[in-house]
């Protein structure tokens, strides 16, 4: 097959170090003593816990429901008892904790009822919902919910579906072995994506250092009678970056502010396709993944591991050597050091590398930037890392944005080639998170301002309404005073003469007040008495009859009445 390949600019060729973990097939990791399943394992909303401590769960049972469309469900990896739902240290560079479900396996590994479905008989929306509720996310490392990427753009026709099997990071071989051993399921998963997106072509890109995987997938494509094109791409880091692979296979360059779907391209990882197929056709949610355990260990190998397995138990499978001084999650270019051995493996964990001083020697001290431009030549996104570095170094974040820092994919090529050993990516990560924090603050302050202004507006409106009410009441009072000047005049005339009369005057004012209240009650007639049925009129008459003796007693005891009005006032 003749396929014209394109090139992306920049990139590096680090030593791949992949062979050591390829000698053995994928192994099944044993059941750990305890599983720690973080609820937030994908981009988007944090799933809500659906189980309680003490509850018994089955393998594959939903324990965290997706929160919104951009979110993905989480499931129990095995059957057992929920010990707690608590904050537990996460597989995150910060070493902070996240809400996790702690499960103690019962050893029976009992599945929940699984319903295999034929997705061709289902409407596409239903298939997307199944994928969301099965927790299918991008397993290349970005963990973006896959169902959200499976809606084709309405305006742009879908040209190409790119399946990413490049696996360009050194050391990682999990996708390689997946493609070799489970090629047909991968291809069936790709077929699901194809049927949902209806692209004109399906291109599967694999780096040419994995000929076995290419052969396995080609065989599977033929066996299943599909027309997917399996293409070996030149081995150059970061060919497995989504934008880079799209560029190599289709020649399309995704602009900064656009998504690949705007150009009619969508990209998925091979492992994501595999889990999508298992979820739809077998009813199995994402509860395990293949993880490469390599680096400074006696037995480097790929393992199928339950999500939530603590790092401490996982590394025992590879027997780390004595001089191991840390564990990296992800590859050596983009990965980070795991904060603790207690942290669990999650959906984003594609590789664990045991580090040692000989494998990853301490980088030499940072030297000043000499503006040689090597980083700009290596940058696969054609950015100018040295400029961004100056501004990030000086904490001039506005300028870093002018140099498009948010197009940086943190691939690490610039740091790799820097002759001054400047950890450029660290500066960019720092700048990015500072800018995000500022944006969060800005949003919060805008919201506070809007709410403060609305509150002031409401206060003023309420004040105006109150003033209006008072004015009305005063006017009403004036009218009443005009209507009954004789009574009060008489009372006033008699009061100064004798102290006995003061009492009389008081009684007279009370009586006048009661009279006013009565008049008010009568004027405030019920307004909904027109067109009543006979039954309703009868009822009203009955109630009035009941009230009549009460009213009579009230008039004889006006004090009681005043007391009652007082109590209702307060």
């Amino acid at each position: 097959m003749l396929q014209q390949l394109f090139k992306f600019k920049g990139g590096v060729k680090p030593q791949t170090s992949k062979t050591s973990s390829l000698h053995e097939p994928i192994g099944q990791a044993p059941l750990p003593a305890r599983l720690i399943v973080p609820l937030h394992q994908s981009i988007g909303g944090t799933p809500n816990p659906l189980v309680e401590a003490g509850e018994h769960v089955l393998k594959g049972q939903l324990i965290g429901g997706a929160d919104g469309w951009i979110s993905s469900a989480v499931h129990a990896p095995t059957s057992g008892t929920v010990l707690a739902i608590e904050e537990h240290i996460a597989a995150h560079p910060s070493g902070l904790s996240t809400l996790s479900v702690i499960i103690e396996p019962d050893g029976r590994d009992e599945w929940i009822e699984r319903t295999p479905l034929d997705y061709r008989t289902l409407p596409p929306e239903r298939v997307r919902e199944i994928l969301r509720d099965a927790g299918v996310v991008g397993l290349g490392g970005a963990v973006f919910p896959s169902h959200a990427k499976l809606t084709a753009s309405k305006t742009v026709p879908m040209d190409e579906l790119v399946i990413n099997g490049a696996e360009c990071e050194p050391f990682i071989t999990c996708d390689d072995l997946l493609m070799r051993e489970r090629a047909e399921d991968v291809i069936r998963g790709v077929a699901i994506f194809r049927d949902l997106l209806m692209p004109k072509r399906v291109l599967i890109g694999i780096e040419d250092n994995k000929p076995e995987a290419v052969a396995a997938l080609e065989k599977a494509v033929q066996a299943l009678g599909e027309n997917f094109e399996v293409i070996a791409v030149p081995t150059r880091y970061p060919a497995g970056g989504a934008k880079q692979l799209i560029r190599v296979l289709t020649g399309k360059e995704v602009p900064a502010a656009k998504r690949s779907t705007d150009l009619g391209v969508q990209c998925f990882n091979v492992a994501t396709a595999y889990t999508a197929y298992r979820a739809v056709a077998h009813g199995e949610p994402v509860i395990s993944r293949i993880v490469t355990l390599t680096g400074n260990v006696e037995h480097p190998r790929n393992w199928e591991v339950l999500i939530g397995t603590p790092l401490r138990e996982f590394i025992q499978l590879g027997k780390p050597k004595n001089d191991t001084n840390g564990y990296l999650m992800g590859g050596p270019m983009m990965g980070f050091e795991m904060p603790s051995l207690d942290a669990p493996l999650v959906k984003a964990t594609n590789c664990i590398i045991a580090a040692s001083p000989t494998l990853f020697p301490q980088p030499p001290p940072e030297m000043p930037c000499i503006r040689c431009g090597a980083c700009a030549e290596a940058c696969p996104h054609e950015l100018q890392p040295f400029e961004m570095y100056w501004f990030a170094h000086a904490k001039n974040f506005g300028k870093t944005q002018e140099y498009n820092i948010f197009d940086c994919i943190e691939c690490g090529c610039c740091s790799y080639v820097c002759p001054s050993h400047i950890p450029l990516v660290q500066y960019f990560r720092f700048a990015k998170s500072e800018i995000w924090a500022r944006e969060r603050d800005k949003k919060a302050s805008d919201l506070a301002k809007a709410r403060f202004e609305f509150r002031n507006l409401r206060d003023e409106r309420e004040k105006a309404e109150k003033a209006e009410r008072l004015a009305k009441a005063a006017a009403a009072k004036a009218v009443e005073k005009k209507a009954a000047p004789v009574d009060s005049g008489a009372a006033l005339a008699t009061s100064p003469d004798a102290p006995v009369n003061a009492d009389v005057a008081k009684k007279a004012t009370i009586a006048a007040a009661i009279e006013r209240a009565r008049v008010q009650r009568e004027t405030a007639e019920p307004k909904n008495t027109d067109g009543l049925t006979i039954a309703q009129r009868k009822e009203i008459a009955e109630i009035e009859a009941r009230r009549a003796p009460l009213l009579a007693s009230e008039q004889t005891a006006p004090n009681a009445e005043t007391q009652r009005t007082q109590s209702t006032d307060t």
């Binding site: 996460a90 560079p93 902070l96 660290q426 500066y427 603050d441 403060f452």
Partner: protein, 180 residues
């Protein structure tokens, strides 16, 4: 000579008319400087500067009545930004800089007096008379205005803890080792 004077006078009249028209047509409502200052202020509406809200303080700064270092929630960074905008020298903050806080009501002690609801400048407290009150943490600006009015002292301020969502990558720092 007269022609020259007439030409100059005509020019003056035409330009004057143009300027007059422009000043009516492109009239700027309010002081644009106030808006720029207000955009820098953190909008906590806490009144710690001595003005009843961020806008009055911004107006006072624009008038030159108030100093730029009176806003504790804005911190030293806010002072620097104001100094940049106004071309003044940044002066040290006139108060202690505190981490970001959020108010928390001890719901067991709350008697439902509504005094804190009336004090909250951003309506971040929900509750009703004789009912328990609570604070909507995502709306709370940490202004502390609700703390004083509470008759049973059930409101406390807590600094916002670092979590995975608001965690930031640190500035790269390297240990300097003595060469052997």
């Amino acid at each position: 000579m007269i022609t020259a004077i007439v030409i100059m006078a005509l020019g003056a009249i035409v330009l004057g008319a143009a300027l007059g028209y422009a000043s009516v047509k492109f009239k700027v409502e309010g002081n644009p400087l106030v808006e720029k200052i207000e955009a820098i202020l953190p909008q906590t509406q806490c009144g710690q500067c001595g003005y009843p809200g961020c806008k009055p303080y911004a107006e006072a700064i624009a008038e030159g009545e108030a100093d730029i270092n009176l806003c504790p929630p804005g911190g030293m960074e806010g002072v620097r930004k104001l100094a940049d905008l106004l071309g003044r020298e940044p002066t040290p903050l006139d108060a202690e800089e505190k981490p970001k806080q959020v108010a928390i009501i001890d719901e067991a002690t709350c008697i439902g007096c509504t005094l804190c609801i009336q004090a909250c400048p951003v309506d971040a407290i929900v509750g009703a008379a004789k009912q328990m009150h609570t604070i909507v943490a995502s709306l709370c600006t940490g202004c502390e205005l609700c703390v004083k009015p509470c008759p049973v002292e059930c409101i406390r301020m807590e600094p916002i803890a670092e979590n995975i969502e608001n965690w930031k990558w640190k500035y790269p720092v390297f240990e300097i080792k003595r060469a052997a």
